[in-house]
Symmetry: C2
Subunit: 304 residues, 2 copies
């Protein structure tokens, strides 16, 4: 199977710490490299993690808090300095392009590539990106301003041709595409060979969900149901539950409860408050509910 990996560039929250960078991650699906959120210092993190700048095709911004988007202008500028030619797609609240306009006009005048903004309506669940392999959908979050999560799903894949059967039944080349899609084969003698003798099961379609920053949103469980990997913010420990609610954030335990209810296959917690000098306590609280939970950290790669 092609790689489907999430690489953490930053998993801290609003205030900088010596341990964590502001929110950003890259999701690699085959040769697609998507970025989710782009806090300050993201371009430096790309360098440190040896991710080629030119691979990033799209950036998805969950919401307009600085720790999720202040790295955009620097990254956009550097892409231009490096002579990028491929367009860069930015999916974000429509206010972002207004806010960034004077910056872009001044710092990025006449850049070498096209910057294409796509407006997100964070209040609704909808597919905002689609190509022949994946879809990206938004799910509304509950934060102090419009905020959405993202779910990236592989589309249903094609069945695998069984080479020996092609030879045995002398299936012409031009029919094989149809077999991958489930067609049966009818021999020149008029005998129907059922598809499942000619092909093997398609690979499963994998999925990844990103939820940050938000109150726990049980209403989104229907969308999260069974995803392979859920990255969920866990800004606070259970002892800060009141503060979490006041600031529209989630505790590690709440993130784990949501993951359990949604029956996701794996949970990664992130977006840790700067008040914690060690995130193990947050992980411990999550694991009390979701035993295999993992915690994000800069440089970590989670494979699906």
């Amino acid at each position: 199977m092609e790689p489907f990996e999430i690489q953490i560039l930053g998993c801290g929250s609003a205030l900088p710490t010596t341990r964590h960078n502001a929110s950003s991650q890259v999701v690699r699906i085959g040769n697609r490299w998507l970025m989710i959120d782009c806090g300050e210092g993201t371009q430096q993190q790309l360098r440190k993690q040896h991710i080629s700048f030119s691979q990033i095709s799209s950036v998805f911004i969950s919401h307009l808090h600085g720790d999720h988007c202040f790295g955009l202008i620097g990254m956009i500028s550097s892409f231009a300095l490096l002579g990028r030619s491929a367009p860069l797609h930015i999916f974000a609240d429509k206010l972002l392009r207004q806010i960034m306009k004077p910056q872009l006009d001044f710092f990025c005048k006449g850049i070498s590539y096209e910057l294409i903004f796509h407006d997100i309506d964070a209040t609704i669940h909808s597919i905002i990106y689609e190509d022949n392999v994946i879809t990206v959908e938004t799910i509304p979050q509950e934060h102090r301003l419009p905020c959405c999560g993202f779910i990236i799903r592989e589309k249903p894949k094609k069945r695998h041709i069984i080479g020996e059967m092609m030879e045995y039944y002398k299936v012409p080349e031009y029919l094989r595409k149809g077999l991958k899609e489930g067609n049966d084969f009818i021999t020149p003698d008029g005998i129907t060979i059922p598809n499942n003798r000619l092909t093997r099961e398609a690979d499963p379609s994998r999925s990844y969900a990103y939820c940050s920053d938000t109150l726990p949103c049980p209403q989104n469980i229907k969308y999260l149901k069974g995803v392979d990997l859920l990255y969920h913010e866990a800004t606070f420990a259970e002892s800060e539950k009141v503060r979490a609610k006041e600031t529209y954030h989630t505790t590690a335990r709440q993130a784990a409860e949501l993951a359990q209810e949604a029956n996701v296959k794996q949970l990664v917690i992130g977006h840790f408050s700067s008040r914690y000098t060690n995130d193990d306590m947050l992980l411990k609280e999550a694991r009390e509910i979701f035993q295999t939970a993992e915690k994000a950290d800069e440089n970590r790669i989670f494979k699906i």
Copy 2:
């Protein structure tokens, strides 16, 4: 003497590298902490170097290239999140406040402290800041857009009272301030005691100059003459002399020549191009002219 120190937060140039951060440094004179330039990631560097956010009173921006100012918005936001109350002064080209306005209106609405922009005219040499201890002056640089260097000078200091002499001549307390300024003392019997018997020489007034980014500017030598420490950009090696000129930058050798001609006491080179994986070669070229030259590096502190 009170500390007069330059602490390097970042000494890279436009593109991020794994070794250097974008331009920023703090200059500490006694209990004053001034920042010069504020590239992306500066607030994180402050954290890593354990510099208290609340100490920074003023930020001086040499010019409006992203690697010298993209860190402002994040730092301003974090200061607000931390409930700062003291005003923050930003000295920069007047365009900066226009460019930042939509960002500040959106991300920093109702912040807890006053943000005061002071417009710089980078084309002239002038004093832009003055208090009872220091002055900060601009010197015009030659770059691809308006750019200035900064010279921070301690004002002339007061002479030191010699305690035993105060007792010996029974100098009343209220006259001592005048002695520090050079007055003689006239005894009740009408005898004049010359100041130099009562006081010792004042400490020397120290000075620091920051020049980045620029072509070598021999016309500024008159301002740089004899400064204690000159930080000068040395983006390129001598082999890239043509490129340096084209991009309005300086080579390490040129920086050293300028330092030598200006007879500065110490030279620190910085703003290294991302093309170099090791800056020792730049330092070597500078030292061929200015033997005691040093190179900037994140975390290094240069004491005057």
